[in-house]
């Protein structure tokens, strides 16, 4: 029997689901292998659980989304976080490091809508157990295919623990530390084919920090290259600042080379 797969979205830009639709040449093949029972942006009929695989995009940013993700977890054998909003809160997690009132005022000019019972954006893992994370803002669609293939043969995929630098070398790129003096590549999970450095842009860390990252060294090199403390903090906190591996970042940046 084909596995029952459900795709859900919480608060996000829908871009990771768009990346799934962007698998144009392979989309019909994929749909032939699964029973897609829930996919709001692509289909009308929604079937209730249980699901074999739930794939969830977006951060938990409203009170009702806490209940929603818990229900999805209860209904699903395997829960996959899809993209940076789901794995780390994403861009909207910036609110953890800013003055909440100022941020809201800038967006809604003092007249903040009452009904949006919003909470500070959090990754899914804050509220439920996540079985696997497909990283990236947006995800790499081939990464999604790889993960789905493994799940279809009954395996839970294992993630490589390589920095972006590995793929950057394969692509024979000039190091962005040389070009721009800054890059989060050495501290960040690869798997994106180093898409930013390969296009002559520093990695901005959307896939989240590596478990064994050398944060001290990364910060030291950027500081030596004249990148300001403020800029380093903002780079690190752009998409995945709530990751606990970044808990001491402020201290580290301020203490510099110690």
């Amino acid at each position: 029997m084909k596995p029952r797969v459900a795709i859900f979205d919480l608060t996000s830009c829908d871009g990771c689901q768009v990346e799934i639709l962007n698998l144009e040449d392979h989309l019909l093949d994929i749909l032939g292998k699964i029973d897609l029972v829930n996919f709001r942006i692509g289909k009308e009929v929604k079937e209730p659980g249980p699901y074999d695989i739930a794939i969830v995009e977006g951060s938990v940013s409203k009170e009702e989304e806490i209940e929603k993700i818990k229900k999805i977890r209860d209904d699903s054998k395997i829960l996959i976080a899809l993209g940076t909003c789901a794995t780390h809160g994403g861009l909207q997690s910036n609110i953890h490091f800013m003055d909440e009132n100022e941020v809201k005022k800038a967006a809604y000019n003092d007249k903040h809508p009452q009904q949006t019972r919003d909470i500070k954006a959090e990754p899914l893992s804050k509220y439920v157990k996540v079985d696997y994370s497909i990283r990236g803002c947006p995800i790499d669609k081939w990464d999604f295919v790889k993960v789905l293939k493994q799940l279809l043969i009954g395996k839970l995929p294992k993630e490589d623990n390589n920095p972006v630098c590995v793929e950057c070398r394969f692509n024979e790129n000039v190091c962005q530390f040389e070009e721009k003096g800054k890059c989060l590549g050495p501290m960040t999970h690869g798997g994106c084919n180093a898409v930013c450095p390969s296009n002559n842009q520093p990695c901005d860390g959307c896939r989240g920090p590596l478990e064994d990252l050398n944060l001290k060294a990364g910060i030291r090199i950027m500081k030596e290259n004249g990148v300001s403390d403020e800029e380093i903090l903002k780079m690190v906190r752009k998409y995945t600042g709530v990751d606990e591996l970044y808990n001491k970042i402020e201290e580290l940046v301020k203490n510099g080379n110690n």
Partner: protein
């Protein structure tokens, strides 16, 4: 009769609620609300550096990421007095056209067409309409490949930056695109013809149509803000013609003209206002199908999108034929305090970005008006007129027809902040 509550309406981008109150078969209350979690982009931009704005605003919406990315770059370049090279402008236009093509194909074939053919999804449609679905996927891929080739990635492009591009595309890849676009011409025409065979609901409500207008071409990248109601101002004066308001029940803001009128933006507005600027192939297709513009049926927005498929395919071909790609660096500029405003025509209408930058290049203030926020008032007005005419139908049919009308606008509430749960209360 109690209350009927539907879950978030499907096949639209983002989340919204529609609440209806019906007494004695009369529509008494109607409220359309964006319920997407608020994401406060204008707030996050404050204190960010001018050169990361486009990457941040790209994340407003995954369906039209290029719209926000390109409009913000234009606004920042406007603030810093950066004049792009002609080549960079052509490459920006190609990304914009590619992104409009991609979004239109996605909306027409995967979100709207199943409605009209009576399927719950394109997936369910794929068996009987295998050729059409495969054709749509092929055209979508082509459109995405334009963005990937030039922008480095389909969703959230990497290469565009203030002053130009961090990396230019390979000439061979552009030649391949040109070849594929030429091959796709008959398919775009076939897509248009298929859509014109659909039964478009008979409904008319004349409203104000707003779009950019350019003397030289069918406006997407440049032009004055023009409306059927007499608005005609420069982009920098957008605030003199529009009002933004916040509704307590919605995370999406609402926009009206300063004379307090709801208005329409998107493909139908563009075709209504700029019909004479469409290229020959698009005009020819319109004439052959016997269509007449201006048209006041919002459902015709679908057809207007299909017209733009034909138009933009030929425009991309023209741009690529005349592009003699040279290696060039981004334009040099000085960081200084400034104030920049820009507008673009993007898949769902006109988008506006405005930034104030301090002398170190940090954003002091940002204002973004996405197309869907501009259409929300107009959708509400349409529904007020549309719903009474269908209330004698079965509940399920009422809902389907309402959804069709809303989807015709191709609303994207990720952009608007923030789509659709339907609650009908019958007393």
């Amino acid at each position: 009769m109690g209350t009927i509550k539907l879950d978030h309406i499907s096949k639209i981008e983002g989340h919204a609620d529609l609440n209806l109150k019906i007494e004695d078969n009369q529509l008494k209350e109607l409220s359309l609300d964006g319920v997407e979690g608020a994401r406060y982009f204008e707030g996050f931009l404050k204190g960010r550096k001018y050169d990361e704005v486009h990457h941040i605003v790209s994340r407003i919406c995954g369906v039209c990421s290029q719209s926000h990315l390109l409009c913000s770059l234009k606004a920042i370049e406007n603030a810093l007095n950066v004049e792009l090279t002609p080549q960079a402008k052509i490459l920006r236009k190609l990304i914009l056209y590619g992104s409009v093509l991609q979004s239109h194909v996605l909306h027409l074939f995967f979100l709207a067409l199943p409605d009209f053919l009576g399927y719950e999804s394109a997936i369910a449609m794929a068996e009987k309409y295998a050729n059409e679905v495969k054709m749509a996927l092929k055209l979508k891929k082509l459109a995405n490949d334009i963005c990937t080739t030039i922008g480095g990635r389909d969703v959230h492009c990497v290469t565009p930056l203030v002053g130009g591009f961090s990396k230019l595309p390979e000439k061979q890849k552009l030649d391949d695109l040109l070849e594929r676009l030429r091959e796709a011409r008959p398919e775009m025409l076939a897509a248009f013809k298929l859509l014109t065979t659909l039964q478009i609901p008979e409904f008319e409500r004349k409203t104000e149509y707003v779009s950019l207008q350019d003397n030289n071409e069918y406006a997407f990248y440049e032009g004055r803000i023009v409306s059927s109601g007499g608005i005609n101002v420069e982009q920098r004066d957008y605030k003199t013609v529009f009002n933004e308001s916040v509704k307590d029940t919605s995370s999406a803001k609402f926009v009206s003209t300063t004379s307090n009128m709801p208005f329409f933006v998107g493909s139908l507005s563009r075709v209504n206002i700029n019909y004479d600027k469409l290229n020959d192939s698009a005009k020819h297709a319109v004439q052959e199908a016997g269509l007449i513009f201006p048209n006041y049926n919002p459902f015709m927005n679908n057809i207007a999108q299909a017209i733009e498929l034909i138009h933009l395919t030929d425009e991309c071909i023209k741009l690529l034929e005349n592009l003699n790609l040279q290696q060039e660096e981004p334009v040099k500029y000085e960081i200084k305090a400034g104030h920049g405003i820009a507008a673009l025509e993007v898949p769902r209408g006109t988008v506006y970005h405005e930034y104030e930058i301090d002398d170190r290049g940090f954003i002091q203030k940002a204002n973004i008006i996405a197309p869907t926020t501009q259409n929300l008032n107009n959708i509400e007005k349409d529904l007020w007129q549309f719903i009474p005419g269908i209330l004698d139908k079965e509940e399920k049919e009422v809902i389907t027809e309402i959804e069709k009308l809303i989807r015709a606008y191709d609303p994207c509430l990720s952009c608007a902040a923030h789509f659709l749960r339907l609650k009908i209360e019958r007393i």
